[in-house]
């Protein structure tokens, strides 16, 4: 061991307490990944008809658990760990008060446990509790109050986490007046601003409507309103998953490739664009919802197409950074440089394959975003095919690949087996390629999503590119490979816990080729971007929301409640209900008055 390597401390050497918190967050994430993978393979085999050991009623419990555990718990626990690492690393200072950090971690863990228990209780009739409302919890599907309460506690936990990182940055700014925000911290802060704006809607939806409704305090909700509030949050949440992956592609991937980030200013521009554009597009998830005027959907589509811009800038910047690494390694030629890259490194290969899948996801995303051709694939299994490319690969595979790179620096333990890691990321790619390709094809045949038994008596799906059964086999094989890949990932990380400690595991990140000094100062003006983001949100949502409310009222017209699991409406609740109804009527009158002006 050289003296030089010994002199380079790892993250855990410099910030042991922060590393402990990050590891705790990531273990939470990996637990959710394990559960999600188990539910995933059960679903895959069930809906393709390969094996149906559980009832088709339970399918929806598995589906809800798969969705919530993976896209809320796995992704967000991982990213709060990653963001803590990024802020502390790039500011090179500890968090202000780790008691606050443990508090938000505890809130997130408690919230997710509550939500998880309410979902899993659906498997047994002994507990009068269920939440088979799927990830989107659309009313009038109704979950147990614990489901909504857990989500609120979880989201408030993430708010405190954001405040924790902002406070740490402000402290750093006082110590370093006039300096540019370090790139990784800039990425965390812009992502969190977007998250604050987005989650306002879901907090309103849950606290004002869904939770009181599930408690029996109000009789009905306006399903279009709660759906619209969900998608106000639901599209930016996609970027909440994706932006940490982008952060890894911008700051870590070039380093592993042997190069450096091509352009710090472009990276900042991309994150600002995501902050501005990711929220005022949510209505593109509601192209087929009645009750929203086509014009608003068209505006949403236009905003969505603008959102392609930061992703295309990313494609250029990240690939150029990697190419720079390849050239430094001696790569030559127009395509020959690709051979010079470190393909045996699971972190590198995993992230590159994730990026490749994201390029394919970009294509199916453009179909989803197009107002006219969306009709062709709406509510078909094409849509899960799409988001298994994006969140299921671009995000999930990047997170797993990054774990291979980051975990040794958080533990001082070298990865148990980089070879298994390499096999794991390749298996993920192959499994996902099979599964999502078949899902897209089935979607084009009209096979519905969210359906336990998508085969119908006396009806055959039209033959196009591969028959229904053949595509089912592809989905089942792909899903099984993905399950195996998850098991390999988890096993590798768990066994690493018993690896002997080693030194020399630090991997410092190099500065960008074109550094922050080349970026216009206005990019760091966070207040300005918050202001513009809010204006865009108001422009995109004020009129549609006013229209929805003036059509059917704040609390709807009584669309019914499914499943009706609670009948304990107390006299007190009825009195509260009467008061709320009166207030709501007044509010509706006021809004109708304003909108008719």
């Amino acid at each position: 061991m050289s003296a030089e390597l010994e002199a380079e401390p790892t993250f855990v050497d410099k910030f042991p307490e922060e590393a402990r918190i990050i590891r705790a967050a990531m273990w939470g994430s990996f637990l959710a990944l394990t559960l999600g993978a188990i539910f995933g393979i059960i679903q895959t085999l069930h809906r393709t008809g390969i094996a149906r050991p559980f009832s088709s009623v339970d399918y929806y419990t598995f589906l809800t658990a798969h969705g919530v555990f993976l896209v809320i718990s796995f992704t967000i626990f991982f990213l709060v760990g990653l963001f803590t690492w990024a802020v502390v690393r790039s500011l090179d200072r500890p968090l202000l008060n780790t008691k606050i950090t443990w508090t938000w971690y505890g809130m997130m863990a408690a919230g997710m446990t509550m939500t998880g228990v309410s979902i899993l209780a659906g498997f047994t009739a002994r507990i009068d509790m269920s939440a088979d409302v799927l990830f989107t919890f659309y009313a009038p599907l109704q979950a147990h109050p614990l489901f909504y309460t857990g989500l609120v506690v979880f989201v408030v936990g993430t708010w405190v986490a954001g405040a924790d990182w902002f406070r740490t940055w402000l402290a750093w700014r006082e110590e370093n007046p006039g300096e540019r925000i370090p790139l990784q911290t800039f990425m965390v802060l812009t992502t969190m601003i977007m998250w604050y704006i987005a989650t306002l809607a879901i907090a309103t939806s849950i606290l004002v409507f869904l939770l009181p409704w599930s408690l029996g305090l109000i009789e009905s909700v306006n399903p279009t309103l709660t759906r619209t509030l969900f998608w106000f949050f639901g599209h930016p949440v996609v970027y909440f998953w994706l932006m940490p992956a982008y952060m890894l592609w911008y700051t870590v991937l070039p380093k592993i490739a042997g190069g450096r980030l091509f352009s710090d200013p472009l990276a900042r521009v991309v994150f600002v664009l995501f902050l501005l554009l990711s929220t005022p597009v949510g209505i593109h998830h509601q192209y087929l919802d009645p009750g929203i005027a086509e014009g608003f959907k068209f505006i949403s589509m236009t905003n969505t197409m603008f959102l392609l811009l930061p992703s295309l800038i990313t494609a250029f910047t990240v690939v150029a950074s990697v190419e720079y690494g390849a050239r430094r390694r001696g790569g030559t030629g127009i395509f020959g440089w690709l051979r010079a890259l470190p393909w045996r490194n699971p972190a590198f290969t995993g992230m590159m394959l994730a990026g490749l899948m994201f390029a394919a996801g970009g294509f199916s995303g453009m179909i989803n975003a197009g107002l006219n051709i969306n009709y062709m694939i709406h509510n078909t299994i094409w849509v899960p095919g799409h988001f298994h490319l994006t969140v299921g690969t671009a995000v999930a595979l990047t997170f797993m690949a990054a774990t291979y790179w980051l975990w040794p620096q958080l533990t001082n333990r070298p990865l148990y087996s980089p070879q298994i890691g390499l096999a794991q990321v390749v298996l993920w790619f192959v499994g996902m390629a099979l599964m999502t390709n078949a899902m897209h094809s089935q979607g084009l045949l009209g096979v519905p999503r969210r359906t336990a038994e998508p085969e119908y008596a006396g009806f055959d799906y039209p033959m196009a590119f591969g028959g229904f059964e053949e595509l089912n086999l592809q989905i089942a094989i792909g899903g099984t490979i993905l399950f195996v890949s998850t098991v390999l990932f988890i096993a590798n990380i768990v066994i690493t816990s018993w690896s002997p400690k080693a030194s020399g595991l630090a991997r410092p990140l190099p500065p960008a080729l074109s550094g922050p000094e080349d970026a216009p100062k206005v990019l760091d003006n966070l207040r300005l971007w918050v202001g513009i983001a809010l204006v865009l949100v108001v422009l995109a949502y004020a009129l549609p929301l006013a229209g929805i409310i003036s059509n059917s009222g704040v609390f709807g017209t009584g669309a019914g409640t499914y499943p009706v699991w609670i009948d304990a409406t107390t006299a007190l609740a009825e009195r509260v209900l009467a008061a709320i109804t009166t207030a709501a009527t007044l509010l509706v009158d006021a809004i109708t008055g304003v909108s008719s002006l």
Partner: protein, 69 residues
């Protein structure tokens, strides 16, 4: 400096073992022109164009036109 596994670049970056082979120092100072990136992105756009043509066949030629309204 122990050996070739800890190649230092002009930026002071340490390339430790496990992160790949040693890098070529002289390439650092050359003007970097991302021509390979351009080639890859053009390939992606070509695939996109082909895929859009494919969608045309799926939507319009494999079934009747969908008319809404």
């Amino acid at each position: 400096m122990a050996g070739s596994d800890t190649a230092s670049t002009v930026t002071g970056e340490v390339n430790p073992p496990g992160d790949g082979e040693p890098i070529h120092e002289d390439a650092e100072t050359e003007e970097f022109d991302p021509i390979g990136t351009l080639a890859l992105i053009m390939t992606y756009f070509a695939i996109l164009v082909i895929a859009w043509v494919y969608v045309y066949f799926i939507e319009f030629l494999s079934r009747d036109l969908t008319v809404i309204g």
